[in-house]
């Protein structure tokens, strides 16, 4: 599942990820695309607190790709 939150500002991308996590089945991979650099810090922090798995944080051209697996 891809959550394209590019153009949205903090905390928009994180809120979009939360919405996606609520709907997704356990085991689903969710990719968040965000043009707001603070997402690269805030999203991993939240994923850790919420007990999901952070698969990858990667800087692409002009945006960040943050990949999360829902584990519970």
């Amino acid at each position: 599942m891809i959550v394209d939150a590019r153009g949205s500002y903090c905390p928009g991308p994180l809120m979009e990820l939360m919405k996606a996590i609520k709907k997704a089945p356990v085991g689903e991979i969710i990719e968040v695309l965000s043009s707001d650099a603070s997402s690269a810090k805030d999203i991993p922090e939240w994923v850790k607190k919420a007990g999901h798995e952070l698969v990858e944080v990667k800087e692409e051209k002009g945006y960040w790709r943050i990949v999360v697996r829902k584990v519970k």
């Binding site: 809120m15 939360m18 609520k22 922090e45 939240w46 607190k49 007990g51």
Partner: protein, 375 residues
């Protein structure tokens, strides 16, 4: 030329009044017409609800009929808009249909407490009149236990109101000599107590001084009797839950296919709805990274009225909105601060003081002049 404004909140009323002032001659000469379509015939001054719950303001102080607020040249249509047809420039209402040359979407935002199971049954809020009246009664009787002020989604109207209500609850309980019997907790969805970093730092310090506990990364998914359950897998007990329920844009926006969540894709500088050069959006209904607050609607209405009236007169529409917002922050019943910010400028503060509080109290009365386009 017909300008149709859909929505009778602050954004719609101010746009109508500013346009009426700028198009006085054109309206008189029948070259321009302003329609305001609103499903309600009254305006509720929503910031007043914060005072209503502490019995500082009453319903009559914070509601006025639209017909007394609107410029007499604005045609008020009290009807529910059911569909916006942007391709064919038509608005379908419950009992009629209207054409337009320019459309202004000012349909605002609404609370959707029903989206969190159990919240309607076990929670309270002050984000609408009925909820605020119920909370007024409960607060007057609350003498001991745990109060949780919980922000259950971002964005929501008036971003600083949850902070203000927490400060005021602290003082209210102190005045009634029951603060020592009450645990006061504030929760927020992200990893700090507010979206803007420096506001967060100040508020966290002030909460600590007042023995107000905080929970961050706290996203309620269900409310049970006396207990909140979060997406993060935590539980928080409460005796009184004051929720800031999740918000959505108008169902009209969703039903018209403009977006899935009711927030209208809007140009951040011109306020044009993306893809249409004769449709504009302002106030809470936009998807812009600005506060859903009356001051934002006010400053946007100034820009929009300047540009729309220019277009109608054949002049260049050169005004731009730069994200300006001003919010008072009440820190007690006798002191307040305020923040001013825009797209590029982070907020700065003044130390909480009496004068700013008096300004806020005065503005609660003066707001009706703003609504009329005077102030």
């Amino acid at each position: 030329m017909r300008v149709a404004i859909v929505g009778g909140g602050v954004a719609g009323i101010l746009t109508a009044n500013y346009l009426a002032m700028r198009l006085r001659e054109e309206i008189r000469d029948k070259k321009a017409e302003i329609l305001l379509i609103s499903e309600r015939d009254k305006l509720l001054y929503e910031p007043g609800l914060l005072y209503l719950i502490f019995n500082k303001l009453e319903e009559k102080d914070i509601t006025k009929e639209l017909k007394y607020l609107l410029d007499p040249s604005v045609k008020l249509i009290v009807d529910r808009a059911e569909k916006l047809d942007l391709e064919n420039r038509k608005i379908k209402t419950k009992s009629n249909e209207f054409d337009y040359d320019y459309l202004v979407i000012a349909t605002g935002s609404r609370i959707v407490p029903e989206e969190i199971p159990g919240l309607v049954q076990y929670g309270d809020w002050f984000y609408n009149l009925d909820g605020a009246k119920r909370l007024r009664e409960k607060l007057s009787r609350f003498k001991e236990g745990k109060v949780v002020v919980s922000v259950m989604g971002i964005p929501h109207k008036c971003p600083v109101a949850p902070i203000e209500v927490t400060f005021l609850l602290h003082e209210f309980f102190k005045i009634h000599n029951v603060r020592d019997n009450i645990e006061l907790v504030y929760t927020y969805p992200i990893n700090r107590v507010f979206t803007l970093g420096n506001v967060s730092e100040l508020v966290e310090k002030m909460f600590e001084e007042r023995n107000i506990e905080t929970r961050t990364f706290f996203n309620p998914v269900e409310v049970k009797e006396g207990k909140i359950i979060t997406l993060e897998g935590e539980e928080e007990s409460f005796d009184l839950l004051i929720a800031i329920p999740p918000h959505k844009g108008s169902q009209l926006i969703i039903d018209s296919g403009l977006s899935d969540d009711g927030w209208v894709p809007t140009d951040k500088f011109t306020l044009e709805v993306k893809g249409y050069d004769n449709v504009f959006a302002l106030g809470d209904t936009t998807d812009l990274p600005v506060s859903k607050a009356g001051s934002v609607a006010h400053f946007q209405a100034e820009v929009l009225a300047e540009n729309l009236s220019a277009e109608i007169k054949g002049l260049p529409p050169t005004a731009r909105y730069f994200g300006k917002a001003v919010c008072f922050i009440e820190t007690s019943f006798s002191e307040a601060t305020y923040i001013w910010f825009d797209y590029e400028t982070p907020p700065t503060f003044v130390k909480p003081n009496r004068f700013t509080h008096w300004m806020k109290i005065a503005y609660n009365r003066m707001f009706w002049l703003t609504a009329r386009g005077v102030l």
